[in-house]
Assembly symmetry: none
Homo-oligomer: 248 residues x 2
DNA sequence: TCGATTATGATTATTTTTGAACAAATAAAA
DNA sequence: TTTTATTTGTTCAAAAATAATCATAATCGA
């Protein structure tokens, strides 16, 4: 039983129990207390735990509040249909913006073999496309852990330097009154994408149509096309407003 | 029973058991302990396992994106020592640059619980730190799939907008003649990091000391400190040149 | 075949790890 | 508050593992 092995065991125990006791560990691993103490001290020096009198505590009780994977896994069938249609709009040579929405994320799988440039603020998108034919441009700036994406002033300025042929965006809601977002940062980024692309596509599953939440940040005229699986009556209104509606 | 054959057996055993013991292997393969040690050391140098006292463990149970793993797994012990020392230089409140080298990447595990800002062009670093206490800033620009990092003109401009208290960088080689890089893009980024940080640390395992390869891009005066496990005579020269040398 | 290189093993010195003893510091109890 | 028990840091010593050195055996190319 060497240090590396003990370290693993201690950290695992710490992860499940939240705290550990020196006597307890010493007995369990059949090592002396002083050795246990040395192990804990070393782990504490590496910032892997908090040292307490007689034991140690987990250093980082904060949990990830927002699970991108789970969100992306919701409504998969509808989203995939939407994304397949979106991918059909993309041709080799395109330069496209992709935002950090969970629907847009699922577009990745359909464009891996296209010879295009993707400009994005979403780290999952980068991860998904990094070993594909797609050439990537990452938007810089402050990273928002909850959305796993880059947001903020610098990000907006970064976007403003580029021009894309198409932008594929998500929103939190779209109604006859306009587009809605969950945060100002998201709204800013979405607007920047739309402003710098020739054609702006909105990807929305049915749950977003007619929904109004938190912040109205733009009118319907911001987008050029809407790809959705909804059959809502709102779609007719959107068409009348000049939006190209692609139903899947 | 030659080395290749033993290597296969050891790795297979390691894969099933997770760890191996020198005495045990020596007995099983009917070779001396010293030979066993030599085998394990050689495998460790290739990054195929993690050497411990009395045996070895499977390399890095923590998941690292894709092909990055191979490079990052080489010389793990030395790199970890270097990074532990590097982490010791960082205090809460620091704003630090981290580049896309494999050594610098291993610094992540030691800084997850520090309250600092990290500005980086390395996507693996972002991945590793995204659910930590560290607040992240991603450098924007064109993504280089091979290095899994952002490079180029826009990236350099992005860096120029920020000032960090410390920069932790890798190079491809350092000799009495200066610093060497594998590509112009890498060199540019490294220089930009150094130029915009108060104190510049170079993280180099022994294989980089005295090595001159491809492109000399800067003199020794670019860096303020060198953290290394090397014992090369060059270190004295570096010290005379005004570099703070931290030996681990 | 010879000589040279490489792999292996034995021996010894060095380093690392571990545990014990005891004084100092800290938390808990009276 | 003072007292008591526990925890911790320090120093030292023993044991284990390792590195270094040298000698021997195996392998290979000419």
């Amino acid at each position: 039983m060497n240090f590396q092995k003990r370290k693993q065991i201690i950290l695992k125990k710490l992860d499940t129990d939240g705290e550990v006791d020196i006597k307890q560990i010493a007995a369990e691993l059949k090592i002396s207390e002083i050795t246990t103490r040395r192990d804990l001290n070393q782990l504490a020096a590496d910032g892997l735990l908090y040292r307490t009198h007689g034991g140690a505590m987990k250093v980082n009780p904060l949990e990830i509040p927002h699970d991108f994977v789970n969100k992306a896994a919701k409504n998969v069938e509808a989203k995939d249909k939407i994304c397949r249609a979106a991918a059909g709009q993309i041709i080799d040579g395109d330069i496209i913006f992709m935002d950090c929405g969970s629907t847009v994320f699922r577009l990745c799988q359909f464009i891996k073999n296209k010879k295009i440039k993707v400009i994005t603020n979403s780290i999952p998108v980068v991860y998904e496309l990094q070993n594909s034919l797609v050439s990537l441009n990452i938007i810089g700036g402050e990273f928002d852990a909850e959305r796993q994406a880059v947001h903020g002033k610098i990000a907006n300025e970064h976007i403003a330097r580029y021009r894309a042929s198409k932008a594929f965006l998500g929103v939190d809601g779209i109604s006859r009154n306009g587009l809605f977002a969950n945060s100002e940062l998201e709204a800013d980024i979405t607007q920047a994408f739309a402003a710098n692309s020739t054609k702006t596509y909105l990807l929305c599953d049915e749950s977003k149509i007619g929904k109004e939440s938190y912040l109205k940040f733009a009118g319907l005229d911001m987008i050029d096309a809407l790809i959705t699986n909804s059959t809502s009556a709102d779609l007719d209104y959107f068409k009348e407003s000049g939006i190209e509606v692609i139903e899947v």
